[in-house]
Symmetry: C2
Subunit: 412 residues, 2 copies
């Protein structure tokens, strides 16, 4: 057959081989599956989560704090660890507010963004003292009314829709008409109104895009964020307590992707921070990161149920699929499907020798985990690992599809 | 502004207006929301489900029976009704097997397809007497071993990977290498083996594609299915008890889509059935339909939480989104996003007069329910209806994404 392999994405650093198997946290894939008694299984590595945060902090200017956007992964043990490692938690729904309450997060460090907040969500957030990142003048009015009703002083910040975007980002969150935040030119008037109303003014949230890999592009966007924040602050005529600069740091999913050069970015940011505009001299600066902090620390393990040949092509049929790994299947916001990094977990050091397509167990042609991948010979009972599964995996996939149900999750 | 509207898909027939509002089953959208006490809400219409089945049966040759593929919508009241209206239920997982057991379906009319069946799923299916549509020789062996262990005679059919595909289908399930079924040339040998092993031989399952709108193309594919089934049956040398001919009937989602002309198709099928090959003279014929039976009977209702303007464009921010309506957001197996049919439900008879983009409440630019739609003027508190929400809505969307949780569902 003239079937040509399609490249796999790069396997993240930090995984080891024990007895020929992929090992996470010093335990082999087989051991991890045996202890969970369930496949498919998401395994998240504490060591990798800690190392990622340490490296980031070492590279960034000292003044920058790091928030965790819990939407990336809100599995309770991961969330608790990230609460410990980060300087604050960013949430996007009442459901996520419940999660951060459940782990005992300090509400003074929790902020709530999202374009459609229900009155009940505003009420709970104000009652517990979380900061609301206001997305519109209408939401501001509702928040003020709610605070009045509760007799509470609300903590309010404003999300800005900037004129510029993050070049090369997978999702653009700025530059032109957007449902997020308030167009920059209308921000000073609203800020003045909020401050005049006696709220606790918490500052600005400026998010320009996500999943960018170019340090230059991210640093450029953050330089623009600093300038915009300074100019808005000047117009407001009041100090800016906090600035959420967004994040946008991507991770390499696909063949040819290179990790963000955070040391280079750190140096560029150092320069910007050494020449900080006067308006921002007293401001606390936050990066908001989700995928970058947790994405590469997670692996999805699924067992091969069947091996079959159709028209000369080999299929490895697993007990997992797009109901846990929607993005890896290429069906979530992607135009052209490309392979995530993948491996045969229990033959992790074996030489690739055969081309196989890894599919899920769902009865739909969309359910593809790796297309024509060059892998070690594998058979029924072997374990497939899909990497970069720490973010937007379990929580961003339709787990009830075809009556399948969720995967197990484990922090090791 | 020079913003141009983008067309909406066609609103399905069968909905009415009461007091200016969209009405389903004689109740206005507002009443339905009031009685569910929850938005977003999926509403499914009994009348429309019944009418669809009646019309289909009237158009199809009398010999054709109609199975319901429960993956399209397995909300229990809908499933119970479809069990009553259809001639059998097709399932695709152990979870779906539990659902059809829970409603007391007759297992003699239940068949289980899907490329990755676990041993435990095979065991339950054989124990309760559901038919297994075997997807590979390996699965056949596992099924025989399981039946042996249980001391049961298994009901077995074979899923065939045909050489041809359904022209114009949204998802191709035949023609070339596929993870589904067994390549046609290997089917007779496996069928003989199964029959010789003393199993209850149930026949063939041949599925060529889905979401096709051309009656000609569907009839042509079904003509090919009949020929293939006859030729395989001849090679097996045993009668074919049942033939699941697949389905493939689509529904119009987008501007310019026309419904399948089922009367024309019925006439074409009549011709094929009047000249049926001898091999199939005693065969029972089944269509397997999911989306076609339930898709247009469902409406998704979501409330507008905010109305905002960014750079001259109006956004209606709702309390729903892609976590319930992944396909409508354009993020499930689609390359180019197009608008589903949508309306302002409580102003259903008002003239469209303004362009607005309807987004969900999720903090991601992917969360778009209607892009630049020409709609009646709408504001906070109004209800948005997204049509064609009866299939692959609630169950095929990532309801836990961003901590949101599922929508309510209601059969009226």
């Amino acid at each position: 057959m003239s079937v040509k392999p399609k490249p796999l994405g790069p396997i993240p650093q930090g995984f080891s081989v024990i007895d020929g198997e992929l090992a996470i946290g010093g335990r082999t894939a087989s051991e991890l599956i045996a202890s969970s008694q369930h496949t498919p299984l998401f395994v998240y590595s504490q060591d990798l989560l800690r190392a990622r945060m340490d490296n980031l902090r070492a590279a960034m200017p000292e003044r920058i704090r790091v928030n965790y956007a819990i939407k990336a992964n809100s599995f309770e043990p991961v969330l608790s660890l990230m609460n410990e490692l980060s300087d604050g938690l960013d949430i996007a729904s009442g459901g996520e507010l419940d999660m951060v309450k459940a782990i005992g997060a300090d509400m003074a460090n929790v902020s709530f963004a999202g374009p459609g907040k229900r009155d009940s969500e505003l009420e709970t957030a104000i009652a517990v003292g979380a900061t609301l990142n206001l997305e519109s003048e209408g939401e501001a009015r509702r928040a003020l009314d709610t605070a009045d009703k509760l007799g509470k002083v609300p903590r309010l910040a404003i999300r800005v829709n900037p004129e510029f975007e993050l070049r090369g980002s997978g999702m653009k969150m700025g530059g032109g008409a957007k449902p997020f935040g308030i167009d920059a030119e209308r921000v000073p008037a609203l800020a003045k109104e909020i401050i005049a109303a006696g709220c606790e003014w918490r500052g600005l949230h400026i998010f320009t895009g996500s999943q960018a890999l170019s340090a230059e592009a991210i640093a450029e966007a953050q330089c623009n964020v600093l300038s915009l924040a300074a100019s808005l602050t000047e117009k407001m005529g009041a100090p800016l307590p906090k600035l959420n600069m967004g994040g946008g740091f991507g991770i390499p999913y696909f063949h040819g992707d290179e990790p963000v050069d955070i040391r280079h970015m750190g140096k560029q940011l150092d320069e910007h921070f050494s020449a900080l505009p006067d308006e921002l001299s007293g401001t606390e600066f936050f990066l908001e990161l989700g995928r970058y902090l947790v994405g590469e620390a997670g692996v999805y393990l699924t067992r091969i149920l069947d091996k079959k040949v159709s028209h000369g092509e080999t299929y490895l049929v697993t007990d997992g699929g797009l109901h846990h790994q929607l993005a890896a299947s290429g069906n979530f916001g992607t135009v052209i499907r490309r392979n995530y990094p993948a491996a045969i977990a229990n033959r992790f050091d074996a030489e690739p020798s055969a081309i196989a397509t890894i599919v899920g167990c769902l009865c739909t042609p969309l359910d593809r985990l790796a297309d024509r991948a060059m892998l070690p010979e594998a058979d029924v009972g072997d374990l497939v690992a899909i990497f970069c599964a720490g973010a937007y995996g379990a929580s961003a996939s339709p787990s009830a599809f075809l009556g399948q149900g969720p995967a197990a999750e484990m922090l090791v």
